[in-house]
Symmetry: C2
Subunit: 468 residues, 2 copies
């Protein structure tokens, strides 16, 4: 299925070049570009600057554009007149590193153990984004770029990209492309290269519960005063029924069911519930009744509490009835669900069903649209050929459980197909302590990126050369 006539770039990707590619990535990983924490503003600038300088060194016209939040790095290499233009999106911001005490080595001191680099952002998304930069560099090392390439690297993906949509609207003409390529997720398994054709959306809220107007002594008041933590626990427990289904009225309205073809395709994937549970040390896999694990992960909406707090968390015992308690709650959404509507539904539901004594406040944090991509698209197929060339096996087409909210925005504003080709793995532990990225996956990503650009240029050439 690959295109045999294309020059093989593996010969150009020598051990020396690989070492250089690793060192450059490690330099970027050393910058603690945590977008959620205002204290890291200078680090965001530093990371953006590193990327601009690198892209300029490859002959790109590059700049760092300020936004109302963290800056956007934009770069373009438009020297292949008549050839297609590919926009590569990635993000240089990372998740907060907490809990710090669970990291084996410091999160911003990249450390290689057993062929993996451990650092916050190693796989999500610095490693995967940088693989494309080095992919372009590899292609350049073999001659000219056979197509036009644009990079759009943002610094706010981990906080919901609040300023990217305005940026894209403002630069809509400049960002025009024939296809948009994104690598910001996980492929199915180490031996299974995948093209992702679906993503879940997101609705993320914070809930505050107030009981009394001050913390109270549990002896003097216990038995009669509202307990904010107990009330919050009751509220959370009530958000799912005994079948693991979300109880918010209207939550499942409009949800697209899986096709028989998809169910059959996924049933063939190498997946084993026991091995999956063992891989995360879980004694059970609680979830919505009536769906397989892969169906729950990729095609069903869900609700998770991402954080909770209230009362005394210190050493020993404090006999207090906390005045307030809070939680962060997010819902992964699937095609047919609108994030704004879901955020409104949960807000109304939490207030309408608040137990006696609970004063409930709901703050929407962020949201994102779910995405479903046409498998037959030529650029999606080109990605499949690139993966097969690099890995030597035919790729699988899967969906992902995560969200890249900006994908829906790209499709709407730029009217171009999005290609999701993931170099990472779940075992990289993105968002967790000890996040890592296999160096072999990094280099595979570099080779895949270069090959994908070759494939896209070649298929355009073929179309141009063919008689009408």
């Amino acid at each position: 299925m690959t295109t045999p006539s294309l020059p093989d770039l593996a010969d150009h990707y020598t051990p020396e070049v690989r070492a250089q590619a690793e060192n450059e990535l490690f330099g970027l990983l050393r910058v603690p570009s945590v977008s959620a924490d205002p204290a890291h503003a200078a680090d965001m600038e530093q990371a953006a600057g590193l990327l601009r300088t690198k892209l300029e060194s490859l002959g790109f016209s590059a700049r760092v554009d300020a936004t109302e939040g963290h800056p956007v790095v934009y770069a373009e290499h438009l020297k292949a007149a008549g050839a297609p233009t590919v926009l590569i999106y990635g993000h240089y911001d990372v998740q907060p590193e907490a809990p710090l005490d669970k990291w084996q080595t410091p999160p911003f001191e990249p450390t290689v153990r057993n062929g993996r680099v451990y650092a916050r952002g190693a796989t999500d998304d610095k490693g995967q984004a940088y693989a494309h930069i080095r992919g372009v560099e590899l292609l350049l090392s073999a001659g000219e770029l056979p197509l036009n390439v644009k990079f759009l690297l943002e610094g706010e993906e981990e906080v919901g990209s609040p300023n990217l949509e305005p940026y894209i609207r403002q630069h809509q003409g400049e960002l025009t492309a024939d296809a948009i390529v994104i690598s910001d997720g996980s492929r199915f398994a180490p031996d299974v290269p995948t093209v992702t054709y679906g993503l879940r959306g997101l609705s993320y809220v914070e809930v505050h519960v107030t009981g009394a107007n001050r913390d109270l002594h549990s002896g003097s008041y216990g038995g009669a005063a509202p307990n904010a933590i107990g009330l919050l626990a009751t509220i959370i427990a009530g958000l799912k029924d005994g079948q693991g289904r979300v109880t918010i009225p209207g939550f499942y309205d409009g949800v697209s069911e899986l096709t028989d073809a998809e169910r059959a395709m996924w049933a063939e994937l190498p997946h084993d519930d026991a091995a999956f549970a063992a891989s995360i040390g879980a004694t059970a896999l609680p979830g919505e009744a009536g769906y397989s694990t892969l169906e729950r992960l990729w095609a069903r909406p869900t609700l998770d509490v991402n954080g909770i707090w209230g009362g005394y968390q210190g050493e020993g015992s404090k006999t207090v009835i906390a005045s307030t308690a809070g939680a962060k709650i997010s819902m992964r959404l699937v095609p047919g669900q609108d994030p704004e509507r879901i955020t409104r539904l949960i807000s109304e539901h939490l207030k309408a069903t608040a137990p006696a004594g609970a004063q409930v406040e709901v703050l929407p944090l962020h949201g994102g649209q779910p995405v479903l991509i046409d498998l037959e698209n030529a650029y999606v197929q080109a990605a499949g050929r690139a993966l097969e060339h690099v890995h030597g096996v035919a790729p699988k087409f899967t969906r992902g459980g995560g969200s890249i909210p900006i994908v829906a925005v790209f499709r709407e504003l730029l009217q171009a197909p999005v290609v999701l080709v993931d170099f990472g793995l779940n075992e990289d532990a993105p968002h967790s302590p000890n996040e890592s990225f296999a160096l072999s996956d990094y280099h595979g990503g570099v080779l895949t990126s270069a090959r994908l650009l070759q494939e896209i240029a070649a298929q355009a050439q073929t179309r141009t050369d063919s008689p009408a």
Copy 2:
């Protein structure tokens, strides 16, 4: 009902003496003697040293005794041969000050506003314990002490007095007394002086729930992986039924019901649910169905979550499924319930009913026996007369919702009646930010303490003088 022949000490309690009594207390309040936090070890020593020095200045033989935890201050003034001996118990340790940002003035900088001193420990228990020291001083200023007095001031009450019972066993002979006086709670209302004849016990545990063996990305795993926070919320919500009753099997076994006389006595107390709710800013008073608020607070066991934590608590949104979550859960117990048995019951129940995917660990933190005191006891009646003398109104006999676990130990080991005479108020906000103590209550405590000692000495004299 008071004993009119006793010399009135109010004349000796001049404005100058009152100012001195306040300044001394403020000095003690400045020492951040937080027993729960190992970082405050030196502060514990300092507070204990202040008390020893003060008691020595009053002619007591005083010392600071090391324990396996924080030290005990013991002092005795045994110069009234043949007269009764009273042991006064108090504690110089205080609750942690968190949440610090809710204090109007720093917790360890005592500040007087509107006749109240604001500081951590102001009412619980430095202010109330120091009132007894100044009560003895007041009595001394009028002449000789008419009875023998012992002080036992511990530094671990707020962490469950782990080393006090061994200390009492070791010094059992030395601590012998005819009565034990404790002021470490709240009287019923500003205008209602009270003698407390019942206390609730306590069972306090910490619960840890583990789902997966590491934090997970909620996109990659949401819908199939166990969520430790969600599981913990389900566990907590399940600990009470729709009637506000604790669901742990056997929890209510052996609970003593109120007598009709008690119900009638309490029904006469000035209490109004709406005013009570308004005083704590609560929109409802959730609790066990079938009992009045005072009955729930004083005579019914309950269960409160005192703290909860898990996942991301920082700014913004983090899409993580936390590996672990935890909570501190305490139960107030009433006569008929044994803390060790209740701790065992909740531990077994939490493990036996853990939802699928939850790995549950329960750590017992501390416990204490409930107490019920004979209202007809002569020392309890003497306290009533002392209160009536100082306040000019007959006191009420009530129970308290809090726990002083060591009371049961005193009764068992020293075989002496315990007299609970509280100078504080719930509105002092013990255990909360902006804890305070009315200076009028402090001075009332000094006068009550001195009068109580007079009353006890006088009634012993009366008995001795009476023909057999």
